[in-house]
Symmetry: C2
Subunit: 328 residues, 2 copies
DNA sequence: TTTTTTATGATAAGCGCTTGACATAATCTT
DNA sequence: AAGATTATGTCAAGCGCTTATCATAAAAAA
């Protein structure tokens, strides 16, 4: 392994000088600076970040705690975050927490032990305290952890409302909300609230049909089949796109015509779903902006941990993508 | 920050003893071991892995270099790999390389600087040498890097063959291969070879219709539209599921009935696609097994870098999932 | 009791790098 | 030419932990 002393030898100067070049302090002539850089290049030298970190330097490691990148929405979000972090010089430690409390907890410990500079939290298994206890800079996606942890989120309430209104505009009068009904703090709840509010404004009756997010596919299908076969429904606000797709498929099996008999609108609008299911109307979350803001806020916290932010809650605007499934 | 000396103080023993407990060497009585563990728990102590790594201990960090987790297949694969790594006590550094040579190169440097224990390489931008030069244990997914780097892959050739045969069995005689035609070393090429071989056996004419993987959606759509409108085709082997979905959608737009007028079969079989597009026939890669094998091989390399493996090429069996789109 | 074995402590070196203190050149000012 | 400025070097301490060495004490075996 090439080390500082090797570079110094090659460049014909002292380690101090090399260190000065690398860390950019003290007096250095252009000539030596160049010589050192050349030596580093020739030897393909990379300062050992482990050693640097031990001096209290930043590790430039960020922990990303999210449910699961195999979900297209989280996949895209994580991808965008990773890209932002990379541009800011950070490396991403990927922590898929699933719905596994224990795994999330272990990861938290690991991240601390690895001296990460900060955490972006998007999983929802653990309580606030466990995150607080890390003492690390944290920003949260879509869920309030505590008063002093910034939270970034799409405007889920508005999304729920927009979706409901869109279905109404296209003639639906028996509009169901299909998805997770009761997870408190969970983002889908705000979507539900938006739905409820709008239903009330429209003087309709609210109908909530629970389809639990991390149930098996078969159980979800049963729940949806039950809805479509045994209830009078002509419009559905789905809590997320995957649920919406399921409804689309089952409707097709049952011979229910979309959008004539039933109008559907999803939520999330990941690129994959938008591109490959072009019939589905959906509420699109601004994934790129979310990623940018998360990283920007986190970096701010890292660079200045004590500074109070002027705002701890950010709702980014959603967009209604009108397609065939909602009657367009 | 809690450190070793704090634990020693709390437990009423020397740092040496604490270190003996942590690293499990030398003589230690059950009583002291317990006392130390209690002290660690009480203080919520985590050995600083940065400091440990500096002694030459393993970092337990693995770099994962893949194109992009927002692609459902890679999302699922990365998710499964992450899970395997976690179970083996490793942390995952996520490196989305996209098709960006420079980013991949930078990541490689970063991984070296961070003293990762090994790399799982699934991106295809860089040449062998740059990987070799890291001097790190590496395993590769789906692409040969060099003779002494193990490669794990689904049996793409067999998959291409199975798909072609399936279309034939259901009556297709004008069977096209749609996707990347020429990327050498790229996995889709073996799929193409499987297709070609089988076409020859069946005494049909081969037709290759290029749709470049990282083109824009619009260009891909144009290419497909051209195929469907201007060519006599009744069967398509798609190089991957997303391309297959595109073909499905465009066929629908053009009023081409699937599977009556045209039979399609995709490739990859990620869970998302299987669950949410249940009409699509596809060649399913054994993602979980791939992940397990990759991690197993990598760990072997890490624990014993010099040992020669008895095999450097692993083709895992694919499975044909028969659905409606291929005529079932 | 004597010898072995087991348990713990004190001390120090070192992993690769940073940084401060101090010293000495080389170059620039006026 | 004298002082100021800039450039480089030497040396040493320290980040938190591991590990080897040596010493000593307690428990177990002979």
């Amino acid at each position: 392994m090439v080390k500082l002393t090797d570079v110094a030898a090659k460049a014909g100067c002292s380690v101090t000088t090399v260190s000065r070049v690398i860390n950019n302090y003290g007096y250095i002539s252009q000539k030596t600076r160049k010589k050192v850089h050349e030596a580093m290049k020739e030897l393909n030298y990379q300062p050992n970040s482990v050693a640097r970190s031990l001096q209290g330097k930043k590790t430039k490691l960020i922990g990303l705690i999210f449910p699961d990148v195999s979900n297209p929405f989280f996949g895209e979000l994580v991808s965008k975050i990773e890209d932002q972090l990379f541009k800011h010089g950070y490396k991403t430690i990927l922590c898929n927490a699933g719905n596994d409390k224990e795994k999330e907890r272990t990861y938290l410990q690991m991240l601390m032990a690895n001296q990460v500079d900060g955490i972006i939290a998007g999983a929802h298994n653990l309580g606030i305290e466990e995150y607080q206890r890390t003492g690390l800079p944290i920003v949260s996606f879509d869920r309030k952890l505590s008063d002093n942890i910034p939270i970034v989120s799409a405007d889920n309430f508005k999304g729920g409302s927009l979706a409901t209104q869109e279905l109404y505009n296209h003639g639906a009068r028996h509009i169901y909300f299909v998805g997770n009904p009761t997870l408190d703090g969970h983002p889908t709840q705000k979507r539900l609230l938006g739905y409820k509010e709008t239903i009330k404004e429209l003087k309709l009756t609210e109908h909530i049909h629970p389809v639990i997010f991390n149930e098996t596919l078969a159980l979800k299908e049963m729940a949806i089949r039950d809805l479509l076969e045994n209830h009078k429904v002509d419009g559905i606000v789905a809590s997320d796109d995957l649920t919406a797709l399921l409804i689309l498929n089952i409707s097709h099996d049952l011979g229910i015509h979309i959008p004539k008999d039933l109008k559907i609108i999803g939520f999330d609008g990941s690129k994959v779903v938008r591109d490959f299911e072009p019939r589905l109307s959906t509420i699109v979350q601004p994934i790129r902006s979310i990623a940018q803001l998360l990283v920007k806020l986190l970096e701010k916290r890292i660079d200045n941990p004590t500074e109070e932010l002027d705002n701890y809650t950010y709702y980014l605007p959603v967009e209604l993508l009108k397609r065939e499934s909602s009657g367009n």
